[in-house]
């Protein structure tokens, strides 16, 4: 009788532990996916802001000081998001998504860096800036799509 009681207790304890572990695993999985999605959204927003800034610069609507500040800010935010994604633990099958998001953020970082260089170079930078704006818009779309996919999973 005592053995049976003990066995039931052990079994129920083990079951509770398993359940807790599964729940913790699910929760960690959801957290990782949520963080990755959030990073993709923030990076998409920063890329679009930089793209809008470059678009307004093309039509002569932006002061050079605001362009400079905006691009530096976008670069900082993209760098912070890249760092977030790098340090994210790839659990629950988000490894591929993480690699895709990271590669898009790096592409956005390159585009912003090139825009900063072109802007610093001064005249004749119009075409280079236009190219970077298009690249930023493209990357922003990809990042937003990745974020949506991660939210829906």
């Amino acid at each position: 009788m005592i053995h049976r009681l003990l066995a039931v207790r052990v079994a129920s304890g083990a079951l509770a532990l398993l359940l807790a572990a599964a729940l913790a695993g699910c929760s960690a999985d959801a957290n990782a996916r949520g963080s990755l999605s959030q990073s993709a959204t923030t990076a998409a927003s920063a890329s679009r802001a930089a793209g809008l800034l470059l678009g307004q610069n093309e039509s002569g609507r932006i002061l050079p000081t605001v362009l400079d500040t905006g691009l530096s800010d976008a670069a900082d935010r993209l760098a912070a998001q890249a760092q977030n994604v790098v340090t994210l633990t790839a659990i629950g099958g988000i490894g591929a998504s993480r690699a895709r998001v990271l590669s898009d953020i790096r592409a956005a970082q390159d585009a912003v860096a090139s825009a900063q260089e072109a802007s610093a170079a001064g005249h004749d930078s119009g075409r280079a800036l236009e190219r970077q704006r298009q690249e930023l818009d493209r990357v922003a779309q990809q990042l937003a799509a990745s974020s949506k996919r991660l939210e829906q999973q």
Partner: protein, 410 residues
């Protein structure tokens, strides 16, 4: 003619002085993420600040003493200390945010890193407080702050879809917005906190003493508050609308001051940007002056030290020392590397948490015939005062849980 000029100046100053870094950041952020669906909060906040600013101004004009002095005398040291602690800490946080706001605005004009502007801004604030007359510092920054009217004009120049904006205002979410309810309510509290920041009532009541108001000035004070503040709230609403028109459809969530200015650049180009940046500098500088003075007022009035700009600095030395230390503490906070925009977001939410401790004592004092004589609150004012106290209490209780659930609005 002189009277009309004084009224017009008071109203214009109240409009320009209504907006600060909290309003700038929170309004544009909210517009870029929720469209105009949180516009109602600005209206509620404007009614609340009109109600309590008018009340605290009346207390000062009738009793000849600032609200804080009376709170301690009427409610005892313990209650006054709770009020002081909450208000003073929020003031420090707000001051750091405003100095950060000046630095970010100057960065837009110069591309120089904000960290290099922090000490410059603090020294400039101290010099102005030390040397410039109260009425001049209040009027000049308030009038220059009117440059932000460029946002109101921008709304019309962007030729928006008015019916879409109208339906957002009637709580019909924009198709571009996809935010969780907890995030919506978190920002509702932030926007409410930014409209009813505690320093505004301390500055208003102490300013009444600085300018030697008497009951005769109540009519003009009422006009300044009841016309100027709602028009200031419309200015905030136009910042929300600008972001809702330009940034929300593009999926740009505001995280920086330059993004707040992008809709103006879209409509008016470089000239518009210059006017907007001038407005940013003026309102953040004006608000930083008000918060610095409020820190000095709060502590000096609690301890019964001589205070006020109507006294020579040597005659109110502790009042000036408190302000200098507050500025140093604000710079210290900024030099920890905290992002001024994030600091602003937190400061408005923490403001909301501290609101009951600020507004309950004002309501009690404004009902005391011993101080107010026949100028005690009427039934209508008390009814609205109690309704707002309920709202403020609700916002205060809900702020922290919503901050946790929404991941601080992430």
């Amino acid at each position: 003619m002189k009277g009309i000029f004084a009224v017009a100046l008071g109203v214009l100053t109240a409009i320009g002085g209504f907006v600060d870094i909290g309003d700038l950041v929170t309004s544009s952020l909210v517009g870029s993420r929720f469209g105009l669906t949180l516009g109602w909060v600005l209206i509620v906040g404007a009614v609340g600040i009109c109600l309590f600013a008018q009340m605290s101004g009346r207390v000062a004009a009738v009793s000849g003493r600032a609200t804080f002095e009376i709170i301690r005398e009427r409610l005892g040291a313990r209650m006054a200390l709770a009020n002081l602690s909450a208000s003073f800490l929020i003031n420090l946080l707000t001051l750091a945010a405003e100095v950060g706001g000046i630095a970010l605005s100057l960065q837009l004009a110069s591309s120089i890193e904000p960290a290099l502007w922090f000490p410059v801004a603090a020294i400039a604030l101290w010099i102005v407080i030390w040397r410039v007359k109260f009425s001049i510092l209040e009027n000049v920054t308030g009038l220059l702050g009117l440059a932000l009217l460029v946002f109101a004009v921008t709304v019309f120049f962007l030729h928006p879809d008015w019916s879409a904006l109208g339906s957002q205002f009637l709580l019909q979410p924009s198709p571009h917005s996809n935010e969780a309810p907890a995030t919506y309510w978190y920002y509702a509290i932030g926007l409410f906190g930014s409209s009813m920041t505690p320093y505004e009532v301390f500055f208003y009541s102490s300013g009444a003493i600085e300018e030697k108001w008497t009951p005769k000035d109540l009519k003009q004070s009422r006009l300044n508050v009841l016309v100027g503040f709602p028009l200031g709230a419309i200015l905030s609403l136009s910042i929300v609308a600008c972001s809702a028109i330009v940034l929300l459809p593009k999926g740009i969530g505001v995280a920086s001051l330059f993004e707040t200015a992008l809709p103006v650049a879209q409509a008016f180009g470089k000239i518009g940007l210059i006017i907007a940046i001038l407005g940013f500098v003026a309102v953040t500088f004006g608000a930083a002056l008000e918060v610095t003075l409020s820190s000095g007022y709060a502590l000096s009035q609690f301890f019964g030290w001589p205070w006020g700009k109507f006294r020579r600095p040597a005659a109110a030395s502790r009042f000036h020392v408190v302000m200098i230390l507050s500025l140093l503490a604000a710079i210290g906070i900024l030099f920890t590397g905290v992002d001024p925009v994030q600091l602003t977001e937190f400061s408005v939410v923490f403001s909301a948490i501290a609101l009951p401790l600020t507004y309950l004592p004002i309501l009690i004092v404004a009902n005391d015939p011993g101080y107010m004589g026949d100028q005690v609150n009427g039934k209508v004012t008390n009814f609205f005062g109690l309704v707002f106290l309920g709202i403020v209490l609700l916002a205060s209780i809900a702020a922290i849980p919503l901050m946790i659930i929404s991941g601080a609005g992430a």
